[in-house]
Symmetry: D3
Subunit: 286 residues, 6 copies
């Protein structure tokens, strides 16, 4: 008669088999250099999601109409980034093999590397759409190649020149900004240039990674390194809807650190971004 307590994002009900999209948490913040805490993002989002609706008045779509499976959180070994990335890679691979769309909730931004390692195996011609406040292009950080500050540089090691499109960037070392001129398509401060990037990616599989600190700290203070001068929620929402027209084969949102915003507004916003992202990616054939 009685069942165990299920906790999923906004009560997502689908099983793995029936789902077209699979979300899961990657609660890792080992390489965070300033203020840790993103490991609590996915569980906080599940908890807080009881306060939000399944319906989007922006898109006039409802989560109740689509099939998403919430697979819970990976149990990652603290202090071993490489092994954690391997586990993420394995998970993404399994989801892709089942022909479902993976959507990972970080965790620190380094989790994206594990995901892309899996995706690029299946889709060698992958393009990257990257929303962030930070360049994340250091070759190493305090001597480490695997770092949240290097994640997009590591992604570049895999996909090569001209395939990474960065937006909202407003912080980094001078060398990173200069290096980007040769190797990535870096757009400062906001989403200007997004339309061109979308056109360039039109015929390619796309990995879509959203570091939520692309948002202004006024709407998203709950993150490790808040950077003034970011985009608004509406701007992000419109950019997400624009990107959703592409062939997105995997995606993630990351860098929510719930403890730094005790109002809960940052977590609530992350939930809303995830809802809109899931709804936008669903192309309506259900």
């Amino acid at each position: 008669m009685w069942n165990k307590n299920i906790q999923t994002f906004i009560g997502l009900e689908a099983s793995f088999d029936e789902a077209k999209c699979v979300i899961f948490g990657a609660p890792m913040d080992s390489t965070t250099s300033y203020r840790p805490g993103t490991r609590f993002a996915s569980s906080a989002m599940r908890q807080e999601s009881f306060g939000i609706e399944t319906y989007s008045p922006y898109q006039d779509k409802d989560l109740e109409d689509i099939k998403v499976f919430d697979g819970g959180d990976l149990e990652l070994p603290f202090g071993n980034p490489r092994k954690s990335l391997d586990m993420i890679q394995e998970t993404i691979k399994t989801i892709l093999e089942a022909n479902k769309l993976p959507c990972m909730i970080g965790g620190e931004h380094l989790v994206t590397l594990g995901a892309i390692e899996a995706v690029v195996e299946k889709y060698p011609d992958l393009r990257i759409i990257h929303f962030d406040a930070h360049t994340d292009l250091r070759d190493e950080y305090l001597g480490e190649k695997l770092s949240h500050a290097s994640v997009i540089r590591r992604v570049h090691d895999i996909v090569g020149n001209g395939k990474i499109h960065q937006f909202g960037i407003r912080s980094g070392e001078r060398d990173e900004f200069y290096w980007a001129k040769e190797h990535t398509n870096l757009n400062k401060f906001n989403f200007k240039g997004l339309q061109e990037a979308i056109e360039e990616c039109q015929n390619y599989p796309v990995y879509f990674t959203i570091d939520l600190d692309v948002l202004d700290p006024s709407v998203f203070p709950g993150t490790g390194t808040p950077e003034a001068g970011g985009v608004t929620f509406i701007e992000l929402l419109e950019a997400i809807i624009a990107v959703s027209k592409l062939n997105v084969v995997a995606m993630d949102i990351n860098e929510l650190s719930p403890v730094y915003d005790q109002s809960g507004a940052s977590t609530a916003l992350a939930c809303k971004v995830l809802r809109e992202l899931l709804l936008a990616m669903n192309k309506g054939e259900e």
Copy 2:
């Protein structure tokens, strides 16, 4: 020689008899479904109001020039919403009978129902201007007819179709949005359409209810269910001044939950909204 410690909003000095407007607190949050705390709004606002000025550079008016009585807070029975609403109804009635303008400080949004029950007795042809992030149009919530999520639906039970004008709405169930198409004048996201609504209400008595979560969580995180994508303080201020041209016969502001914004900025903003509201409603003949 010595007097007891009086605590009123920004030191409002008028007695009940000399006042044209009466403010009071309705510290009720019994039906709040997510995060309670609005019961502390009115006392927090009185305390915090020592930090703000009586003068508005926006309207070039000063609270010192107008007569407002602060009647303190009602002592409402916790856990009995109907009895609480009766007490609110009684209070509003008393103020209306004395030909004064009531301005209630919530509490959760359900308090508005008690107020409107009283107002509609005196003004049967009442129109409602409603600023909010949420539809508040559920027929019931967890089986309860009296709920903060149903308050405008209950108001509709009283006033009927076409008399409720909603603005800033960006969250609710799909059914609520669809129901609204037939029964209320629902405007999504912002104040577009306000001018038309004002024209429609030109010749009617108006109840004006402001759920402060219509504001963006960036400027107003101190509320139970922060919804990204709201209006700015300046947009709200301009909308208030626009509405003040109408024959507003009663009004309320609600849903400040001070504990969720430890910076105090939300409470300070609520004070400022109340100041501007009181100043705007005062038509200068004093």
Copy 3:
């Protein structure tokens, strides 16, 4: 292959059928007169319980050896205490009928009334052991008979004189303390007198209710009305073990309000109390 995300207290694994004890949350705080927030207790405890161990070095017992089912939280209608109590009553009844030991996690202390209403049906000769900082003996509070401040008075209405044993009490109205002299066995400040009470209850079924604010606010600040001068964790632990020798037929712990202790120490302590309580009540025959 993939399962949904189960969230239980410290990973309790048993199904309802195999369990000897059933825990569930009753997230109700409608009648709280001062600072609400206990509705979040049970979910916060499940979340925080990942940080504690299943083994008790105090009792040399391990939760892994006993069968407890975690039934999740009831969905109670906010603002309708009577209906909420009915749902609690129904739940307890179901558990008792299955011959299992119910352990409820409040919520405010009023939840105890619903539980005792069910228990007394099966065990008419019930005794009550009550740990609390507050008398909870008001006949009514702000006109309401159903209030967290009246819960033990309502219990007395049911069980009558001399059957309620109160410990740790250090706050209440004068009339409550004087009334208690005639009607309950009230022990002030600490657990002096517990041994006598245990002897008196030796041959009776016992309901055991722990308002966690019996603890000193130094160890348990996360509660609505912290009262200085309480007991230590070790004193509470020893008292729990003493009471566990009795025929406890149902029990609850209540009044954790996680938001008021941002260190998490109060929630962690509540988890530990629950662990020790479950272990103590298990009489070893497994």
Copy 4:
């Protein structure tokens, strides 16, 4: 019909004329060297006092039986300690002239100096009972003679050797501890020696000053410089009752800084100390 909103400590009802005791706030923290915030103590205590009872089960007395007037807070000029002390002095003088017992709520500890300047005029043979974690005996602090760290040294300037009895002291410069050997009766860490001090003060008028940081930070974290190793609430309570046998002619409690304890437990405890202090000082002839 309607009255303005009165805010007094636990609803103390007496007028100045009928009162035997007068409490008032001295919200000054200008010289605080580390973390300011005591200016909010008295208003926070009035607000929080709604959560506590008028009856003391410790003393079996009730505030409802005694006559205390709450005169609100002085409006002190920020940044001018000497003028602030003059205003305090004037206030105490007025209360003493009306033959009432003054009880001041700080503010930082320096407020005590203004009070004692007034008291010593009426009672030249004054003794001081001083509970504190800190010596407060510096001759000057950063070049200033008027400082919270010098307040008892300044009091010594007035009353001279051997008249100050200090308890609970556990922090200060070496020179202060050594200087105390010659000039005050300093008792380290706790209340050992209190009985002797009480005997010595038997036939003298006494000023009683309680720096609440004498309490252990576990029970009273809400203060500017928490010092581990303090006394418990029960120890303080017993010491207060012991001192109340003397001829206390004026008293104060100080150094609550509410913002540093967001659980509210420190403010609640300060309220309880004030309640017990007022009850203990009332010698029952009412």
Copy 5:
């Protein structure tokens, strides 16, 4: 081999002698009338600055290319504003005598008075550019001439009519706004009028004072009196760059109160403002 622990803003490396600009903290908040805490601004900024970069993508300049000396914090006597101002005056004088650009980090806004007293000695024809939410033009506050609410009035006492240009002002007494019409160039709400002011100041030495509460509380909640309706970070940044074209001979930023924004976003933003200010003022000849 081992050196002591140096703590400077973003690791600024220059010695006093080699520096062209000198920053230092003035941790004073004695006259703050509402919520103190600005005394912790400079040390919090040094600590938090480890989280931000030396490079500005806005200006394409890097702190590593310019010579700034961080002189640490002044040790100001708490509770003696005049003596504190004298110490600030002395410090500024020393820096000006060494032909370096002083940049002071408040502290409350009154610190600006000490600085201007020194600057005007060297530059009698000084103009003031003042960004703030508040007029700061009271003649006295609670009887005190030296107050954070009077600082610009005191500056006017020194420099006289027409030399002070105020921007972003949205709070003050009516009398202050009216007084400003005759005596200062007050621009309400935002930076409209800045271009004209810059033209007027073209040929004069300029003191540039930024009260950070000119920013909207959404981006800068960490201040004593948050005032809704402020400017964005980008608007402030552009205004700073505009002002930097002038002959700025001394400057300050003030009124960060870190404790009121536990997300750290306000402190991070203050760091970024300081970085951009230092970069803007550096006219590139290095």
Copy 6:
């Protein structure tokens, strides 16, 4: 004339060469499994130490009389525990080679392993005195050998059976407690048995490691996994003084996580423990 801003613990003044003791921070929390944040311990302690005195009334000793060098914090690579431990090992080695007493401030408890690896090279017959709430004896944690939950097990790998003396332990897996019976000298809950341990270690070099969570969460809530039922500050102080009679050749305190105690009391207490530790270890010949 001007010097850079030096920040040392309570203004410790000695240079490396003249010091007898060297303190430094090891800000590492990569393997923390529950709530990270200890990386901020050492810098928070330096900042907070301005609020405490150099003199100990407990020991009648003063930090001004002894020579301690504060070497600042190591810059450890986030996410690479082994490399971090190597850097710690190197640092300790350098200090030991200079014949000074190293005192490390963690960081998570794993830092102790790096230190002991260095110490045991010089002192192969090392004994360990370990104060902690947790056993820290897991062979691995989530597959990792290097974990804060395994640190004492790894130390046992190095020093072998019977050389580790554990006190205050009240949390761990059953297997850890049972394993300890064969391999370490584990004392539950408090310091009972300390005298015997001290006698056993009389003639050996001793490493002294204090996990501050041995303290009760009431006095030390600022830590990742608060465990109710701990020791008091005075009990810890007496135990430290007892251990100081031994030949302590290196020591550490760890696991302060400042962000979880916003009152600052935990950080203040950690400062006081460090002061008392430094004073106790100084055997007076200076």
